[in-house]
Subunit: 205 residues, 2 copies
Amino acid sequence: MSNRNDGLMIVISGPSGSGKGTIIGEYLKTAPPTFLSISATTRTPREGEVNGKNYHFLSKEAFQEEIENGNMLEWANYCENYYGTPKKPVYENLQNDRDVILELDVVGAMNVKKNHPQGVYIFILPPSMEILKNRLSGRGTETADVVEKRLLAAKKEISFTPQYDYLIVNEDLPKAVDNLRAIIWAEKSKMSRAEEMINEVYIND
Amino acid sequence: MSNRNDGLMIVISGPSGSGKGTIIGEYLKTAPPTFLSISATTRTPREGEVNGKNYHFLSKEAFQEEIENGNMLEWANYCENYYGTPKKPVYENLQNDRDVILELDVVGAMNVKKNHPQGVYIFILPPSMEILKNRLSGRGTETADVVEKRLLAAKKEISFTPQYDYLIVNEDLPKAVDNLRAIIWAEKSKMSRAEEMINEVYIND
């Protein structure tokens, strides 16, 4: 399915508190046409969540059918609910020259990477563990126990960083967004994507 | 000699008329500390050329001694004159965390790449062969013969593009400079450069 002129598949991970969602949101405001993948889930919608916007809300039976038909790019089962990425919109957008951004946890990202090693895998980190701890403690409203659990989860996520291509340290939001933009532009400047064009424009002239 | 926190070795090539010198000059105006390598040559200085600024002007004997002592990163002999890149300032700057830019023809670049595959190899092209032709014709002051020779040389250079990591199409100068900046920033964001830092800051915390 992959062509050198296709859009980029950009997979972004980072622990809770890394600011990855905000960075992606800011990037999309001025980005070239980019598709932000929407996950499917079987969990109950929370108040205010819109089907097809926050998630594609599916029944368990429908989700299992999608898995069986090979329609999920990746999926997992947490706390008895399914979560996953529908394959079709991702592939269609890539083939139409649109970049696709997937915001995934490390397990989902690694499941995608198995079949799509040519994707661009980016990990986002806060500038220090102390800052992460502060962000996870939710301005002191969380119990020490909850903060400790979140920290452990963050450390587990961080142990996957060597599997990623790029690291963005989110010290300053506009700079982190620029960094994401630079990585995507550099990836689009890779010679491997230009060989056909060079032959057409410069060699067979 | 290479450490993950060293500066980047950035090798830039492109045919005459690609604007590579101008792009590098503009980049350096706002770049972080970067060392622009100065070539050594045995040819006679032209009027206005300053030793140690435009070139390091050496006698043939001195140049040959430098080659024999392994002090040249790359060298070649054109029209009975030696041209080459002194190794020492390049290595010293890299070890001191400074990026090093080498503006080299394809032969020089490929000679450097043999021993330094971890460098960043960037090729710069004008947006079309027609524009290249116009630039090479020197606003019509050159004979058709000279233009034809330059075009052939350009086509030969372009045949080396698959050996480079990135392509910058110089359609618009500020955009080309931004593209160079994006490539260098992305290279510095590569996970392989951050593993040590991650262990120190986030894992062994």
